[in-house]
Protein backbone atom coordinates (compact mmCIF):
# COMPACT_ATOMS: atom_id res chain seq x y z
CA UNK A 1 0.00 0.00 0.00
CA UNK A 2 1.46 3.37 -1.03
CA UNK A 3 2.04 5.96 1.62
CA UNK A 4 -0.33 8.90 1.25
CA UNK A 5 1.16 12.37 1.59
CA UNK A 6 -0.60 14.69 4.00
CA UNK A 7 -0.58 18.36 3.04
CA UNK A 8 -0.73 21.41 5.27
CA UNK A 9 -3.55 23.50 3.80
CA UNK A 10 -2.64 27.04 4.94
CA UNK A 11 0.85 26.82 3.37
CA UNK A 12 -0.59 25.47 0.11
CA UNK A 13 -3.08 28.36 0.00
CA UNK A 14 -0.35 30.89 0.74
CA UNK A 15 1.82 29.54 -2.08
CA UNK A 16 -1.14 29.72 -4.48
CA UNK A 17 -1.83 33.34 -3.46
CA UNK A 18 1.81 34.27 -4.07
CA UNK A 19 1.73 32.64 -7.50
CA UNK A 20 -1.47 34.44 -8.47
CA UNK A 21 -0.02 37.76 -7.26
CA UNK A 22 3.00 37.37 -9.55
CA UNK A 23 0.77 36.32 -12.44
CA UNK A 24 -1.60 39.26 -11.88
CA UNK A 25 1.25 41.79 -11.94
CA UNK A 26 2.71 40.07 -15.01
CA UNK A 27 -0.51 40.13 -16.99
CA UNK A 28 -1.19 43.78 -16.10
CA UNK A 29 2.38 44.80 -17.07
CA UNK A 30 2.11 42.82 -20.31
CA UNK A 31 -1.22 44.53 -21.00
CA UNK A 32 0.36 47.96 -20.58
CA UNK A 33 3.23 46.87 -22.82
CA UNK A 34 0.85 45.60 -25.50
CA UNK A 35 -1.12 48.86 -25.35
CA UNK A 36 2.03 50.89 -25.95
CA UNK A 37 3.49 48.62 -28.63
CA UNK A 38 0.04 48.27 -30.30
CA UNK A 39 0.62 44.96 -32.06
CA UNK A 40 -1.88 43.21 -34.34
CA UNK A 41 -4.44 41.24 -32.26
CA UNK A 42 -2.92 37.85 -33.13
CA UNK A 43 0.58 39.00 -32.20
CA UNK A 44 -0.88 40.62 -29.08
CA UNK A 45 -2.08 37.25 -27.80
CA UNK A 46 1.19 35.65 -28.81
CA UNK A 47 2.98 38.40 -26.85
CA UNK A 48 0.81 37.57 -23.84
CA UNK A 49 1.42 33.83 -24.01
CA UNK A 50 5.18 34.23 -24.47
CA UNK A 51 5.58 36.93 -21.79
CA UNK A 52 3.39 35.01 -19.34
CA UNK A 53 5.31 31.79 -19.89
CA UNK A 54 8.68 33.52 -19.53
CA UNK A 55 7.62 35.09 -16.22
CA UNK A 56 6.30 31.69 -15.05
CA UNK A 57 9.64 30.11 -15.94
CA UNK A 58 11.35 32.83 -13.87
CA UNK A 59 8.97 32.03 -10.98
CA UNK A 60 9.59 28.30 -11.38
CA UNK A 61 13.37 28.71 -11.33
CA UNK A 62 13.78 31.38 -8.64
CA UNK A 63 10.88 30.83 -6.24
CA UNK A 64 10.18 27.10 -6.62
CA UNK A 65 13.88 26.22 -6.90
CA UNK A 66 12.79 24.17 -9.93
CA UNK A 67 16.33 23.54 -11.20
CA UNK A 68 17.12 21.70 -7.97
CA UNK A 69 13.93 19.68 -8.44
CA UNK A 70 12.21 21.09 -5.36
CA UNK A 71 9.07 22.44 -7.05
CA UNK A 72 7.07 19.46 -5.77
CA UNK A 73 7.63 20.67 -2.21
CA UNK A 74 5.56 23.81 -2.81
CA UNK A 75 2.80 22.70 -5.20
CA UNK A 76 0.96 19.41 -5.59
CA UNK A 77 1.39 19.44 -9.38
CA UNK A 78 3.83 22.30 -10.01
CA UNK A 79 3.95 22.41 -13.82
CA UNK A 80 0.17 22.33 -14.21
CA UNK A 81 -0.51 24.85 -11.42
CA UNK A 82 2.16 27.32 -12.51
CA UNK A 83 2.01 27.18 -16.30
CA UNK A 84 -1.48 26.08 -17.30
CA UNK A 85 -4.14 26.73 -14.64
CA UNK A 86 -4.28 30.53 -14.65
CA UNK A 87 -3.42 31.16 -18.30
CA UNK A 88 -7.03 31.82 -19.33
CA UNK A 89 -7.96 33.27 -15.95
CA UNK A 90 -5.58 36.24 -16.43
CA UNK A 91 -6.54 37.07 -20.03
CA UNK A 92 -9.32 39.56 -19.04
CA UNK A 93 -6.82 41.62 -16.99
CA UNK A 94 -4.45 41.65 -19.94
CA UNK A 95 -7.12 42.71 -22.43
CA UNK A 96 -8.43 45.40 -20.07
CA UNK A 97 -5.02 47.05 -19.72
CA UNK A 98 -4.27 46.55 -23.41
CA UNK A 99 -7.49 48.37 -24.46
CA UNK A 100 -7.10 51.14 -21.86
CA UNK A 101 -3.49 51.99 -22.69
CA UNK A 102 -4.08 51.60 -26.43
CA UNK A 103 -6.93 54.12 -26.25
CA UNK A 104 -4.76 56.56 -24.26
CA UNK A 105 -1.69 56.26 -26.47
CA UNK A 106 -3.32 56.33 -29.92
Amino acid sequence: MSKETIYYGPNADENKKKLSKVQDVTSLALGVGAGILAPEPVYGFLFYVIGYTVSNIAFYITCCEGLQGRAGQFYKSPVKEIFVDNLLHNIPEYIMMWCLVYALVK
Binding site: T5, I6, K21, I36, L37, C63, E65, Q73, F74, K76
Partner: protein, 132 residues
Protein backbone atom coordinates in the same frame (compact mmCIF):
# COMPACT_ATOMS: atom_id res chain seq x y z
CA UNK B 1 13.61 46.35 -2.77
CA UNK B 2 10.36 45.31 -4.45
CA UNK B 3 8.92 48.82 -4.04
CA UNK B 4 11.92 50.36 -5.80
CA UNK B 5 11.57 47.89 -8.67
CA UNK B 6 7.82 48.61 -8.90
CA UNK B 7 8.46 52.37 -9.03
CA UNK B 8 11.28 52.08 -11.61
CA UNK B 9 9.21 49.73 -13.78
CA UNK B 10 6.15 52.01 -13.62
CA UNK B 11 8.23 55.07 -14.51
CA UNK B 12 9.77 53.24 -17.48
CA UNK B 13 6.34 52.16 -18.75
CA UNK B 14 4.88 55.65 -18.20
CA UNK B 15 7.76 57.24 -20.08
CA UNK B 16 7.51 54.71 -22.91
CA UNK B 17 3.74 55.28 -23.06
CA UNK B 18 4.14 59.06 -23.30
CA UNK B 19 6.86 58.68 -25.95
CA UNK B 20 4.58 56.40 -27.93
CA UNK B 21 1.72 58.94 -27.56
CA UNK B 22 3.96 61.75 -28.87
CA UNK B 23 5.14 59.55 -31.73
CA UNK B 24 1.56 58.86 -32.79
CA UNK B 25 0.68 62.57 -32.54
CA UNK B 26 3.66 63.36 -34.77
CA UNK B 27 2.51 60.79 -37.31
CA UNK B 28 -0.96 62.34 -37.31
CA UNK B 29 0.38 65.86 -37.93
CA UNK B 30 2.65 64.67 -40.73
CA UNK B 31 -0.20 62.57 -42.23
CA UNK B 32 1.68 59.29 -42.09
CA UNK B 33 -0.28 56.19 -41.25
CA UNK B 34 1.07 54.44 -38.19
CA UNK B 35 1.07 51.05 -39.94
CA UNK B 36 3.77 52.22 -42.38
CA UNK B 37 6.40 52.93 -39.76
CA UNK B 38 6.62 50.95 -36.53
CA UNK B 39 7.55 52.39 -33.16
CA UNK B 40 11.17 53.47 -32.68
CA UNK B 41 13.26 50.67 -31.24
CA UNK B 42 14.17 52.67 -28.09
CA UNK B 43 10.49 52.77 -27.06
CA UNK B 44 10.13 49.02 -27.67
CA UNK B 45 13.25 48.30 -25.58
CA UNK B 46 12.02 50.62 -22.82
CA UNK B 47 8.67 48.80 -22.68
CA UNK B 48 10.32 45.38 -22.53
CA UNK B 49 12.75 46.51 -19.80
CA UNK B 50 9.85 48.06 -17.85
CA UNK B 51 7.88 44.80 -17.97
CA UNK B 52 10.93 42.79 -16.86
CA UNK B 53 11.57 45.19 -13.95
CA UNK B 54 7.92 45.02 -12.85
CA UNK B 55 7.93 41.21 -12.94
CA UNK B 56 11.21 41.18 -10.98
CA UNK B 57 9.57 43.51 -8.44
CA UNK B 58 6.60 41.17 -8.05
CA UNK B 59 8.95 38.18 -7.63
CA UNK B 60 10.95 39.95 -4.93
CA UNK B 61 7.76 41.14 -3.17
CA UNK B 62 6.79 37.57 -2.22
CA UNK B 63 10.02 36.97 -0.31
CA UNK B 64 9.50 35.59 3.20
CA UNK B 65 11.01 37.85 5.89
CA UNK B 66 13.11 36.44 8.75
CA UNK B 67 11.21 35.27 11.83
CA UNK B 68 11.71 36.09 15.47
CA UNK B 69 11.23 32.97 17.58
CA UNK B 70 9.69 32.84 21.06
CA UNK B 71 13.23 32.79 22.49
CA UNK B 72 14.04 36.09 20.74
CA UNK B 73 16.29 34.49 18.13
CA UNK B 74 16.25 35.57 14.49
CA UNK B 75 15.40 32.52 12.38
CA UNK B 76 16.03 32.43 8.64
CA UNK B 77 13.36 30.50 6.69
CA UNK B 78 14.55 27.34 4.89
CA UNK B 79 13.14 28.54 1.58
CA UNK B 80 13.33 32.15 0.50
CA UNK B 81 9.98 32.54 -1.28
CA UNK B 82 7.50 29.73 -0.67
CA UNK B 83 6.58 27.47 2.22
CA UNK B 84 6.66 23.66 2.01
CA UNK B 85 3.18 22.12 1.83
CA UNK B 86 3.96 18.65 3.14
CA UNK B 87 2.69 18.32 6.70
CA UNK B 88 5.98 16.92 8.08
CA UNK B 89 8.07 19.76 6.61
CA UNK B 90 5.54 22.46 7.50
CA UNK B 91 5.41 21.36 11.13
CA UNK B 92 9.23 21.19 11.25
CA UNK B 93 9.23 24.95 10.60
CA UNK B 94 6.78 25.54 13.44
CA UNK B 95 8.98 23.50 15.75
CA UNK B 96 11.94 25.70 14.83
CA UNK B 97 9.88 28.76 15.78
CA UNK B 98 8.58 26.97 18.88
CA UNK B 99 4.99 27.80 18.06
CA UNK B 100 2.05 25.49 17.51
CA UNK B 101 -0.59 26.49 14.95
CA UNK B 102 -3.07 24.12 16.60
CA UNK B 103 -2.54 25.53 20.12
CA UNK B 104 -5.94 27.23 20.01
CA UNK B 105 -7.66 23.88 19.45
CA UNK B 106 -5.53 21.84 21.79
CA UNK B 107 -5.95 24.19 24.74
CA UNK B 108 -9.73 24.55 24.66
CA UNK B 109 -11.07 24.47 28.22
CA UNK B 110 -13.38 21.51 27.53
CA UNK B 111 -10.41 19.38 26.51
CA UNK B 112 -8.11 20.21 29.42
CA UNK B 113 -7.82 17.51 32.07
CA UNK B 114 -7.67 19.81 35.10
CA UNK B 115 -6.90 17.08 37.62
CA UNK B 116 -4.00 15.78 35.52
CA UNK B 117 -2.67 19.30 34.96
CA UNK B 118 -2.73 19.97 38.72
CA UNK B 119 -0.83 16.73 39.31
CA UNK B 120 1.75 17.73 36.73
CA UNK B 121 2.07 21.17 38.28
CA UNK B 122 2.45 19.76 41.78
CA UNK B 123 5.13 17.38 40.55
CA UNK B 124 6.94 20.17 38.72
CA UNK B 125 6.77 22.66 41.58
CA UNK B 126 7.89 19.93 44.00
CA UNK B 127 10.96 19.31 41.86
CA UNK B 128 11.67 23.02 41.74
CA UNK B 129 11.62 23.17 45.53
CA UNK B 130 13.89 20.14 45.82
CA UNK B 131 16.37 21.66 43.38
CA UNK B 132 16.53 24.82 45.42
Amino acid sequence: MSKILYIVGSILLLHAGYSSFEFHQLLKTTHHSSTDSGLPSDIIIEVLVGIVVLVAGSLSSIEIPNFLSVDNEVIHPDHKYLKPIEMSKATAEFEKLKINPFAELETRIEFIDIVNKRKEYAKWSGQEVEEK
